[in-house]
């Protein structure tokens, strides 16, 4: 099979499916191994970045999906119905950020961090398909474990969990430094 044809097939498949398609599936159709398929798709993604293209391909945790470019939004809402925007409250966002970084995580662990109950926020997030149950913890009461969904990756423009803005001990150090600077400023005054 020619390279051009492989690209054509991938484009057609992603267009038709609409949803994210796993790399293994794409590889199978173009009769390649996943490594080679990945190379081809990455190159296609580059091509889509050209100026005269309105659509692009995004990666979502080893799967690929076709979507419009962000800068097309203002033109699209002139013709298309704008996708329903869910405004997440601070409570829901805080809960979501804990789940995103600590997954798999139980309600109790979330509550410990936030200092307040999180039932409502967790239910809302499940409803919005941003988080899902991952199973149960093998502990008394067998509490449910939660983690993020593919919809979460899509909604926040994250390619995979590794792509989340980093959260590391240095960040805490930053906070510490900020605090110290503030103190210093106060002392200097």
């Amino acid at each position: 099979m020619e390279r051009a044809k492989k690209e054509a097939i991938i484009e057609a498949v992603l267009f038709t499916m609409g949803e994210s398609v796993d790399i293994s599936k794409l590889a199978e159709v173009i009769e390649e191994d996943t490594k080679e398929a990945k190379i081809i798709i990455e190159e296609m993604m580059q091509k889509y970045q050209e100026e005269n293209r309105g659509i692009s391909i995004i990666e979502l945790d080893g799967a690929y999906q076709m979507c419009t470019k962000g800068e097309m939004y203002e033109y699209l809402i002139k013709v298309a119905k704008s996708p329903r925007k869910y405004v997440l409250t601070d409570t829901v966002l805080e809960t979501l950020s804990i789940i995103a970084y600590k997954q798999p995580v139980t309600r109790l662990e979330i509550e410990k961090i936030r200092g307040v109950s999180c039932d409502h926020a967790v239910n809302r997030l499940v409803e919005l398909d941003l988080i899902k149950e991952l199973g149960r913890l093998d502990a008394p009461g067998r509490p449910l474990l939660f983690g993020t969904t593919e919809q979460f990756l899509r909604s926040f423009g994250v390619r995979s969990l590794e792509d989340l803005p980093s959260l590391n001990p240095e960040q805490i150090e930053d906070f510490k430094e900020q605090a110290e600077e503030e103190i210093q400023m106060k002392l200097d005054v």
Binding site: F15, C67, T68, Y73, P83, S97, V116, G157, L167
Partner: protein, 247 residues
């Protein structure tokens, strides 16, 4: 005239504490606990909430702050390594962790705004393709699973179920009401006292059948002492108690 104060809404006690720390421009690692506790308490006094769940969460933190405040006044505890322990350490860790996630939630919010600008398309599969269900390859599906493995799984499920039953509490239901009757016991001991005049407490206890009988007997003796029906004497601590009738 009271000045109406518009209170900021906080996500919870930690959020409120962070706000106070921020407002006072203090080092999170060196929180002046007295000042912060005062401010915290005065804030929750103004809180106008009927929701006991919300309120209780804020009150728990208030109690924690007061507890830390007390500990700060006492000589510092020393841990195994001989280091002085800061009573605030645990709270500081909690605050830092919470602050970190709060910070990340703002990051996520920004990302969501950007990501919300892309649009997707519904699948356009021909219906006969969309409805197609490929046949199941049972050999592949079952793999090296066999009947004895399935049996092992079943056993482990049943075992898990048994493990979940608390053997102690599950027996609570079987506890029977003790039939030791206080009034009967009083009559019995009074009769015994009249018969014996002067007797050993241990000898009396030995006549009791169950632990509950022993306890009730002891209570009756105390009661009779109080009402001066008997007097007691004991030579040495842990010695037998000698009871003398006053009746």
């Amino acid at each position: 005239m009271a000045i109406p104060v518009k209170l900021q809404v906080f996500e919870g006690p930690l959020d409120l504490l962070l706000h106070l720390i921020d407002k006072n421009k203090i080092d999170i690692y060196d929180i002046p606990i007295v000042t912060i506790t005062e401010q915290y308490l005065s804030y929750i006094k103004q809180m106008d909430t009927d929701d006991m769940n919300v309120m209780s969460e804020f009150l728990v933190m208030a109690a924690t702050l007061l507890d830390i405040k007390c500990k700060m006044l006492l000589p510092k505890e020393v841990n195994e390594e001989g280091e002085e322990e800061d009573p605030r350490a645990e709270l500081v860790q909690k605050l830092l962790e919470y602050k970190m996630y709060k910070f990340m939630s703002f990051e996520l919010k920004d990302r969501q705004v950007d990501a919300g600008r892309t649009m997707y398309k519904e699948p356009t599969l021909p219906p006969e393709v969309a409805d197609y269900r490929p046949p199941v390859d049972y050999e592949d599906l079952i793999g090296d699973l066999n009947l004895s493995k399935l049996h092992e799984i079943f056993k482990s499920v049943v075992k898990k179920q048994e493990d979940k039953i608390d053997p102690i509490r599950s027996k609570f239901g079987r506890l029977e009401k003790d039939e030791v009757n206080m009034d009967e016991k009083i009559l019995f001991i009074e009769a015994y006292t009249k018969d014996h005049k002067r007797f050993s407490f241990r000898a009396l206890l030995e006549k009791q059948a169950s632990k509950m009988d022993v306890i009730v007997t002891f209570l009756v003796i105390l009661e009779m002492m109080k009402t001066s029906k008997i007097s007691i004497e004991q030579q040495e601590i842990f010695d037998d108690i000698i009871i003398t009738s006053n009746m």
